[in-house]
Symmetry: C2
Subunit: 346 residues, 2 copies
Amino acid sequence: MARIPVPDLMAFCAKLLAAHGVDEEQARNVAENLVWSECVGRRNFGLLRLPVYLERVASGAIKCPCSPRFENLGPSLGLLDGDDGFGQHAGMLAMKHAIELARGTGVGAVGVRNSNFFGTGAYFTHQAADAGMIGLAMSNSFPKVTAHGGLGAVFGTNPFAFGAPRRNGETLMVDMATSGLAGSTVRQHITSGEPLPEGLAVDVDGAPITDPEKVGGGALLPFGGAKGYGLSLMVEILAGVLTGAGVTHGVASMYKDKQEPGHNGHFLIAIDVSRFMPMEAYYDRFEAMVADIRASAPDGGEVLLPGEMRWREYAEAQERGIELSPTTIEAVSPLAAVTDAGAPWR
Amino acid sequence: MARIPVPDLMAFCAKLLAAHGVDEEQARNVAENLVWSECVGRRNFGLLRLPVYLERVASGAIKCPCSPRFENLGPSLGLLDGDDGFGQHAGMLAMKHAIELARGTGVGAVGVRNSNFFGTGAYFTHQAADAGMIGLAMSNSFPKVTAHGGLGAVFGTNPFAFGAPRRNGETLMVDMATSGLAGSTVRQHITSGEPLPEGLAVDVDGAPITDPEKVGGGALLPFGGAKGYGLSLMVEILAGVLTGAGVTHGVASMYKDKQEPGHNGHFLIAIDVSRFMPMEAYYDRFEAMVADIRASAPDGGEVLLPGEMRWREYAEAQERGIELSPTTIEAVSPLAAVTDAGAPWR
């Protein structure tokens, strides 16, 4: 399989989105988000999802064009009504706004409502880190996960992401589902037919599930029991309750409710590092911590930072191009065939 | 064992602290923190630790009196130099400041350096919630926990806490060590002689430990592997790297380094709920979420919110008084005996 230069894939992706009714601004932002996800090897947040996104664009569940509106809630606080556009678009606008607020006051926080699935939170925390800020990003999502001690899905996989700038530009990226399994991992198992490990999903009566096809009729468990439940609740409160977005069953499924806007909510925070100390002093302190972490590696082994493998994949993608997975090509080919957005893998 | 009325325990505790050289202001704030921890049933953060605190006061490792100084880093951002006083005191001052900043701009964040162990983060997030704010509180601590994939302790148990106000005043309190086991739980096992569950601690070669006495020579594991490691790093970066506090091995042990200030760092955030919507609208949305959670309870069962059991204990303590554990009484009695702070359990 030939590798595709990153700019070519970006151009193709934007053209494909535009050909299927996405307005230019969203097409550009979403293409950048999806291709970045491919570059860092988060393929489940990349082009693979184009078919469902474009079905939702066609049905009006993702609005194109959309008119996101900011409401100023204070010198450090904003609320973005995403107007049912792409979550990737709203998330990017919201983090941009949080960064601007943080430039003015030291911290900026922006809630988002009337949005859709926003992809990987790491994209937005890297956006903050790129601006010299520490970033947090979270989103609620369609119910798939039990409350600790409960039966049946109440919460989404409610991702939580944290990013911090490093001197070498390779943002430290913590990015996790607050469930034991991410929704995208369940879909990978459905595709591969591989059973799930035990202890991650249960049926309606609380009995263990390992068949990935059955998770939809049951529920995932929060990771680490009470701890994952606590983090999931934090995300639901900040991204859902506080923003005016959908909460628990008020968030629609991207897959099951293709006619319906997602009603997702997000919450983004940026903290200006340079207000604490000069960036070089921060980097010195940061890399001293990294040295302590590295020193704990076992003989012949290596201790990685969160996101570090992602940056290795990113560097390879920049240098050698992106190799799309066969599943992605299979998913995207029919979309490319009906437009003149000549697929770059041909 | 007689139950002690809360005000009596508070008065005793403050008097005892003062009799052992703690200045009036810190004595009052620390007593309130410790007695609150007893009320909510977090006994490991209560009076049990008075002996080590007072040894540290005697050695000068905890400075009494101390002169914490705020540095204004922006309209929403502050840095508190704790001047090596009690962490409970510095944490409370810092959250108070974060709340004031949030009143002005919507969000307030305060970093703390030159502090000591701050007890339970839930105390500070409840402080925020009591003021109608969502609160986050975190602290780094003496290395006891491995980096994911590494050998030997690099991070502290680095607690992370989140609190959100509820209409009934019972703050939703998420409060977790980012290790699989809290340090206080290890100490409970040492006291009881009960072995640790497997998979939570390892020796210097990475082999499992279940003997709680051996954890000091080995290390705890982050909870949930890479996820706990990521959260632990987030706490280390925000509370340590960013504030100018000690980082990793730069944080001293409260127990092993009794002559040395802790060099702990904290990070506290307050977000003003009322900027998003009227409090009553927020409470309506919050309780609708709670109803969804409750509805997922199994037949005859109950799904609790994080912190909910704590508030049941708190209500009982207010009504019937506090029953100190025999271990606590044994620990505190010698301290009371050498002063005129007549112990309320006699």
